[in-house]
Point group: D2
């Protein structure tokens, strides 16, 4: 048993699905220490939208470190922070007509969500938060209260509080607009749903199973919030930073949330980083009232700023994401036909390059992703029962790699449907290198 | 108003005390974009024990990035993780007779504390946690419940739960052993203090005012825990990694906590990183039951591993910390005499290089640190009223820098006592460079 | 200002709607100290099903007191308790095939509900309780968590916890079976609705607006509970003791709840009294683990036992309630026609003699009940906005009194629709007596 | 197995200590159905201060019922309520210089405590309540949070919240003034003890073991509350109504609490009844915001008013309680000498006729009370381990009965010390009657 198995807590999970030791990565490919190569359709669960070790960002990062740039400065002012904020304002806020205040929280999504909930509660004086079935917003206790998954909830050791769950779009079938319940409950002073400070929502639920709320539903939700003076918080941690085809996932619905949480691909390099955006009048924090040693990761400022310059100065990147998403959509439809031909009630879900195939069976999905790994593709499942095969490939993936990954996925589906267990057919990077 | 002021949330705090824009840092010195230079007695609030951009660690980091080492891999197995665990086992655990399991949580202290609390609650089936007056363990909701400071607690927007506060060592004066209350309350089935899963304690309270618990108190506490089958969690986030003169702060008391949280200087380079250590039988997590996108920061594995090799292969570093701490202790006593001569009831607190001067007045402490900043020293206060001037200089600080910093602090005290407000006398790095 | 106004807290409410001082009462009539007489369609909000000072019960009560029967005995065994339990077993349990264990809690409904929730939580080891929109189960903190009304919830001074609210039957219109949401949320491990210990439900919501759940809905709910191993608690505090036409309101649906709470008319004489019924295997209390000074009111045992003998030895009483309820239904339909003719979207609600007219306007309902009071009828409103005029006349009301009360109500509706404010036309008992 | 054993929940407790069926009671004596007679030193755990079926009160009660007085009227105005308030104002408030507002809650102590906590939280806008070790304030969820006993707390099925426990007077031995901790924690903004809405205290802890706080301690507590603008709530449910020798137990300390809860002996006849007294400016309830079907028990108004007239029009009753309490004190001291002679570290506790002998052993105390029951005395234990034999005889007990009860207790102590188990020596009322 290696040190990793012996010392690391049993909480580890990805090393169970992918029981190899990775040593390096470039773009959309991961390599093990013994030279195996994998195409990466997981991409850090949406953290590596710009690929592994993106060369342009990498250069900026190494330059910064070499010149003794500030690595850690608590929430002091630094040139790196200024550079990031300048780019954020000019390249993201201004073109979209946004004037958010920016809070750098501890550099994880859950830290940002905890801050967002506090902003909502403190500025409204209310405690309740509306969250949705199948939501995932993190596992620290405040965020956990808004996360639906019982696996995490049961581990709290305490009942959570201050949150009411409502059915997400589509939860009760196509005929029911689930916002009817929310709206009725808000109007009714005896509904038991305490009048909320905020509604917290993902426009596409990642961990929940790549459930994309309809544009009309999001718009109606924003409208309900506005009319009732309830804050709308969009958790854009997984769906943001271009994943759905826009920088912010809520741009598709032409809504402007009161508060936005961002993390995962925000640093653009896989570095821990998170921020909360809020309407200026909501910025009522006292100095230092929400802190954290690593708030404002300066290395992340550097790579994030570089990514904004590189990818978000014009709309070429967005258009490319859209183009690739059509490729995935098309191929997924073909795979779904394969599955349906064998009696599997499969369907496609998602928006942009946040896409999944729903298979109504976690066991089936698991067999397919296991086959894919043997064939050189890293891809995972999501959803309450892990019943959705989820594609979160890097947005910068090369067409050739995308096609290859999709080919492997299709082959894996066929193999599982045919009940075949193929030998690993992954490429060996050393062989290729020596070739 | 610059972008920083305009865009960043009012929650920012260090940029208020130190209203300059820092651009780079080396060792124990910080530099602004316009070339001013500051000695750093803050060191990222204990995050930079090995100094800024420590050259040996920096080289390892840049090498790793240049060779496309894995930056982000969720909790996959990587060579970087293996290297860190190997060093942790060989250089830290084995010499100390420890056999902890290691959990990499989200890379912030509060993430580690939240995990530690859950481990305690889930393995014991109890919910209550004993925390102590003036404790600081983070601000996400679960950790916040164990943090004493009302500034943070009031911002929760919800009452916290599941925690009982007990008086820390010395809280009720020298005559009262505060553990009498804890012990009585545990024996008494009607005390209202629900029998706890764990006691969570800092051996030296950092944010709480550099309160160092007496060795006997810590030993009695460990004993009470053991006899009552209550888990002892030492939060070593600020006091660990050599700060008190040992790798773990609890080594002074020769106790072995059931659970340890570590972060801040763990990466040795200011990179976000955190872990929880636990006795193997407490590792009852289900796979993936506590997660986080940035758990296991691979860049931090690299620098942390390098620091263990560099500084913890023998006892030279520990002995050097002890030597320097005696210097600080001696100089602090001199400053205390100055203060007492002017009627200020000052006293010294702390252990190792975690030291402070208690001044019974936040306003006085604040004036002194403001003067120090004008003179080129970055140093902050802590304690409930900010009444303790706190020295957390890098452990690797050069003697000359340490002396210079202490000289500035002494000059600042004298100036405040004389009611003088000196012009900034900081060195200009550009001038010096050109000299 | 009399002593009552001067001393009593502003929390008082019925003395605002009915600002007179009552001195005595008999059957369905209340009398003031100055001799005015009112027909009582409020009946202690369902507490006086057997009328005021029911002569048969009164005799038993006075006899008991005169012979120094035990008035207060904590939960000691007494002859009075034995007599009640004998009658409960023989006249209620056996004919209905029930074998509940009986717990006498503090003598108020909320005490019984708190006990029921604890039984459910402790026997299942789960914490969550499903309650429904517009539910009312009491205001002590545990019960309050299950009560929908924001007026009470806001007064808690704390957020409640451990309860998820689901839409009650009819809440989302006729087309939506609201149990679809409950069933989906229970099957879905990521719904955020923690798997519950119990579902707590009123078969007819009294305070919530006389909403009667359909029989099929109740049956489906019981079925969902059984299949999921979730306890079903019927709160029969207002709807029980014959109010809907059966002793237990759930008899209509031929279901057997796991736990039942009973109070209000249980003593049959207006005496404080409450009990919890539970399946024998749920009776896992440790001795004395739920207590209360007044648990097991011995005077109430006497009157309750007498009422069981008098009214529940055969089905005559049930049939009489049914007959009267048809009278009310018929007359209410006529009044609804009057209202509709004037454009008021009124509708009838309820079951048995728990009936109301929904008027979509709390202001209109209030004007009608105010007119009724002036005319000698005590009747109140319920529902989130007080929009339902609620008839809870004594079940033993004489036909003549019932008709007179309904006549007054109809006259009041007409007067309000005609915008007339009549002079009080109440009878004067003294005049009548002298006549 | 009789119906009582078969049907009643296992939660029953007094019928285990006293496994007989009682049928009637007069003054300080209880009688079983088969004619046995017991002297009652339990008195409904302090509910029967005026004895069982006190003839003067009984007459008023029967008269009222016979004349069809209002039994149940929700919170309507009634002559009975007016009569009670008149007497309360004239006989209790005015002579003591009090001008409280009076709230009639649900007729149990815990209902009153829940209301008191809400008043404190709503009027201050704070949530935390200070309660004390060994406190008992009831078991509904809000009150339970303030109750120390783990037996009840564990049954909640939920962690309680919103309460911090502090050591009661004497908890840490005679040398420590436990209010030092409270005062320090209030001044310290980082104590973790959220600044409280109120302090809730019993002047003598009944269930907690007849712990009487020193007068100076109560005065210092009142002082701390006043200086910090914290409300002082005295829970006088068990210690009030003359039990300690004054109508309110806090009169001994010459303090005026902001809020007082009263119940148990308030009705003077064992009828369920409770009230909250509050300073007028704290009466900020909205109408009906705290309700309960049985708030304002009219039968209890009648007996309570009669008791005020009968016993509290002058100071004769108080003086008589004092005289009897000296008898008990003297006899208890003698018994303590007996115990000490056999090596039992016994001591006396209490105030007025709320007295106990602390025996440091629940098992010993239990054997003594069991012996006493066999000899015709009903007496129970209290304290965390049941280690205190508690005398709560009716205040109106005849000297002869008091002496007889004390004789039995002394004989029981001797028997247990001699390890003798006597045959029941209780009188048989039938024999006596026939004699």
């Amino acid at each position: 048993m290696n040190t990793l198995e012996r010392l690391e807590s049993g909480v580890r999970t990805y090393s169970r699905s992918f029981p190899v030791i990775f040593s390096r990565a470039q773009g959309s490919r991961l390599y093990t220490e013994d030279g195996r190569e994998y195409i990466d359709f997981l991409a850090g669960a949406g953290t590596l939208n710009y690929g592994h070790n993106n060369p342009k960002l990498k250069k900026a990062l190494i330059d910064y470190i070499q010149h003794d740039g500030i690595t850690h400065g608590l929430d002091m002012w630094t040139q790196a922070k200024k550079e990031f904020l300048d780019n954020l304002e000019n390249l993201i806020f201004k073109p979209r007509g946004l004037d958010y205040k920016v809070q750098f929280t501890g550099p994880t999504g859950t830290n940002a969500v905890e801050a967002a909930l506090r902003i909502a509660r403190n500025t409204t004086g209310r405690t309740n938060i509306i969250s949705f079935t199948n939501a995932f917003h993190g596992v620290t206790l405040g965020s956990l209260a808004t996360t639906g998954n019982s696996k995490f909830r049961e581990a709290a050791g305490l009942p959570t509080q201050g949150v009411s769950f409502m059915p997400y779009d589509g939860y009760l079938g196509e005929q029911v607009d689930t916002l009817d319940f929310l709206e009725k409950a808000l109007q009714d002073k005896s509904s038991g749903i305490d009048f909320p400070a905020a509604v917290l929502v993902e426009t596409v639920q990642g961990e929940g199973g790549i459930n994309a709320a309809r544009i009309e539903w999001l718009q109606r939700l924003a409208n309900i919030c506005q009319q009732n003076d309830i804050l709308l918080i969009v958790d854009d941690i997984q769906a943001g930073c271009g994943r759905t085809g826009k920088f912010f996932s809520f741009e598709h619905a032409h809504i402007k949330p009161d508060i936005v949480t961002s993390s995962k691909s925000l640093s653009a390099f896989g570095l821990p980083f998170a921020m909360v955006l809020m309407r200026p009048e909501l910025d009522q924090w006292k100095p230092g009232q929400y802190n954290g040693t690593f708030r404002g990761n300066n290395l992340a400022f550097i790579t994030a700023a570089a990514a904004l310059r590189e990818y978000w100065s014009n709309d070429l990147f967005e258009r490319d994401i859209l183009r690739k998403s059509r490729i995935v959509e098309h191929r997924f439809n073909q795979m779904i036909e394969l599955l349906q031909a064998e009696g599997v009630q499969a369907s496609q879900r998602g928006r942009g390059l946040m896409r999944g195939i729903h298979m109504h069976s976690g066991e089936l999905a698991d067999r397919i992703t296991s086959q894919a790994f043997k064939r050189g593709l890293i891809i995972e499942t999501s959803g309450p029962e892990g019943e959705v095969v989820k594609c979160l490939c890097p947005l910068v993936i090369k067409d050739q790699e995308l096609t290859k990954g999709l080919d492997i996925l299709e082959a894996s589906i066929k193999a599982v449907l045919a009940d075949e267990d193929a030998e690993p057919v992954i490429e060996d990077a050393r062989e290729r290198a020596s070739a």
